[in-house]
């Protein structure tokens, strides 16, 4: 039997997921650079896609064994890293700094309302009855 020591496999799974999430987010941001007067589509898109995917994986992996690598890889690694909180806050700060108050209010409102709705949609997506599960 192996002596009890720190298991590096979940950490490696988080790392690999993080590499994928970071490249996807930065790649999209580089493709769609924007000014403080415009809607930050790149950040908005990754945050919504990551919220939907995390809701789905959370529901899908709920009954997985504790040592499964799927959760660290997909949830903490890919979804956690694909989405970002700091860019959202900097974009809000820059909008307010530029006097674009209505844009800032719309952006924060839409991000929160849709982000929360996407997490819930991801969970319900997983819970809908599947043909192969019908007995």
């Amino acid at each position: 039997m192996r002596p009890s020591r720190f298991d590096l496999r979940p950490l490696a799974a988080i790392y690999v997921g993080g590499v994928i999430g970071a490249l996807a987010r930065v790649g999209l941001a580089e493709a769609g650079a924007h000014g403080p007067g415009e809607w930050p589509w790149a950040t908005f898109a990754v945050n919504m896609a990551g919220a939907l995917a995390l809701g789905y994986f959370f529901a899908r992996l709920r009954d997985h064994p504790e040592d499964s690598l799927a959760h660290p890889f997909l949830a903490t690694g890919v979804c956690g890293t694909l989405t970002t909180f700091s860019a959202l806050q900097l974009e809000l700060f820059q909008m307010i700094d530029a006097g674009r108050l209505a844009l800032a209010a719309a952006y924060v409102g839409a991000t929160l309302a849709a982000g929360y709705a996407f997490v819930r949609a991801g969970i319900s997506l997983e819970r809908r009855p599947r043909p192969e599960a019908a007995r």
């Binding site: 970071a22 970002t84 929160l112």
Partner: protein, 121 residues
């Protein structure tokens, strides 16, 4: 961006994800309260750092690597939303508003403070 720049974004992004996991686990080990304090700490620390970097007028590839690769990967939106949903789902509706309101308001203060400090450098 150059090929080494993309490699740096990927490698540092993975490390930032692992750092987020460690901070969150350290908070979770010290308390069994349902409030997601670890993710709040991660998000506020990252937002302060991003304000600093933006205020210090870092630019070009260095900015993309530090702001997008490191700080953007460290902080998370999806976990913040899922944690909020889970608080609501487990009967802690008042903590949902605290988690969302505190993150937003303290996050704004953090980015403003970081920006001010970065501009003064």
């Amino acid at each position: 961006m150059s090929a080494p720049g993309w490699v740096a974004v990927g490698l540092l992004g993975g490390a930032a994800a692992a750092a987020r996991f460690f901070v969150d686990a350290a908070f979770a080990a010290r308390s069994d309260h349902p409030f997601p304090l670890g993710i709040l700490a991660v998000n506020l620390a990252g937002t302060l750092a991003l304000g600093l970097v933006a205020g210090a007028a870092l630019s070009g590839e260095a900015l993309v690597i530090v702001a997008g690769g490191v700080i953007g990967s460290f902080t998370t939106f999806s976990t913040w939303m899922l944690d909020s949903h889970r608080l609501a789902d487990t009967g802690h509706a008042h903590l949902v508003w605290l988690n969302i309101g505190l993150s937003l308001i303290a996050g704004f203060a953090a980015v403003a403070l970081g920006h001010w400090a970065g501009s003064a450098l």
